[in-house]
Amino acid sequence: MDIPDLLNYAIAFFSLFTLNVFILLYLKHRNDYHKPLKHSGWTPSVSIVMPAYNEEKYIVSSLRTLLDLDYPEDKLELIVVDDGSTDNTYKVAKAFEGPNLHVFTKKNGGKGAALNFGIKNAKGELVATMDADSYVTKNTIRELIPYFDDLDVMAVTPAVKIRESSHWLKEFQRVEYLMILFSRKLLSFIDSVPVTPGPFSIFRRAVFDEIGYFDEHNLVEDQEIALRIQAANYKIKSSMTAEVFTEPPDSMGDLITQRVRWQRGGIRNYWKYRGMIRPEYGDFGMYFVPLNFAALTAFFLLLGLLAYSILSTPYYVQYIWFEALGMDVTFVTFVGTFVVLTSTFFLWLAIRSFQGERVKLRYLLSFLIFYWYIMVGYNVLFLFKELKRERYSW
């Protein structure tokens, strides 16, 4: 057996193992994950901090959904931080100002800085972050609060979803988001939630004083803060019923740009917290953090192996390509097929676990077929930018 063979075997085993862990987590918790939580009835004061940069298009609808939240008015505070927008965001938001809705404006300094500015002005026991291009539903807060009965819980992530449409790139991301949500829920059972998404993650106000505020120079500040909470050995829980709808990128260019940013920032953040790869950090340290490095390595190895096998194809194969295809059906094909089928099953489980979420077959198929190519696209770009040492910023 030569080195490419060994690498193929290693990647095959790694993919099998990772997939099996998720399937087993599902089997173990299949009766827990949609059970409503018992709730003590605690009704804390909640501040919602919404940073906004050039969001005049969306902010009105977003604010309306916040004002429509089912939560006692005297316990709810809304803080809009206009981050030096060059459009009418500030003026538009200002029109909504009231006793419980404050609108601030500051010099442009990035999302992290705007969030920190808002949090410092927040008076609630809990603080939710909010994106101006996202919309909550009536019971979003109510669904999130019960998790805080556990005093170790410092943050709860909502079910960030995309509204159903007939735009294929949006539908594509909708499927992806459902899969991510489902995986995040499963990860919450082993206390390994790695991100508190910008739209409506909710925190104990006290956690910021203890571990610090958002990193203002981070490409993915909502992931960095989650890793910091994990590093402090606090819990992050994940809700599948507290819905928030967000506007995804609607062009391939924007999507790739977003993902390259996530990837560049994400890997740097895991690298920053690589010290957590120790038994005292439990599943998060011994499984989840290493998994991210392993997955990235496996991905690039697989890409390299594919390129190698194409480049090293003997000349004569053109005369017997059909037979060669048949001879290439081997062990790796078997494991590959198993992994593809099982991930398809996993995807089906994920979608099925959300009541009322339906995905048209054509979007599901396009997701299954094209996800890999989009991943190749942004990962290659990611590698390219890292190797070029391109400036690391928004």
Binding site: M1, L16, F17, L24, D191, Y281, D283, V317, Y319, I320
Partner: protein
Amino acid sequence: MKRTVSFPIYAAAFVISLAIFVIGIYIGMLIDQANVRSISDDVSNISEKVASIQLLLLSEGNSSSFCPIYVSQLDSIDEDVERIGYKLSYLEEEKGIYDAELKKKYFIVEAESYLLSGKVRTLCGGDEVLLINFYSNRDCAKCRDQGVEVLKARDALSDEGIDVKLFSFDGEIGSPVAEAFAMQYNVTTYPSVIINGRTYAGYRSSEDLQAYIKAAR
């Protein structure tokens, strides 16, 4: 919060993965065996076809009345022989499956079809060129490239309407037939190319080969 590592989950995932892995390897082995068997069957089939033509030739002596049959049969036999050769090479180079006995058996059929093609060409007056590519899979850096050049030359000439039949022998696997041919054509180094009986030792480019082949007609 006190953290723990969920060992049972990882252990179970490991065992399940290992089980699928082992099943996969077993299935892979079955497929490999099936591939070898299928090529072995191909060789036997061709062998029978070759034998029947030989029989016809023997019974008809030097009469050219059966030429259309000889020519069409041999064309298809030679084509099949070439494809089986590629399949064997693919198994050996890409899959690491090497079956010395099968390869020797294949060389016998190949030698038979080469000799028959030569004989039929003389008898029936064909103008195709017979080319033997002598290679070795041991310590022969240029052999793989030579194989590519031979194919390029053949394909280029086929566009011009010149018919070349290819035969390849590995001279260093202890095949008696291949060794006898090597002796007959004075092959001492690999790669060597023999065009209509004339030996060209050492690596030759596709352009050179095309020139030799045109000269040999």
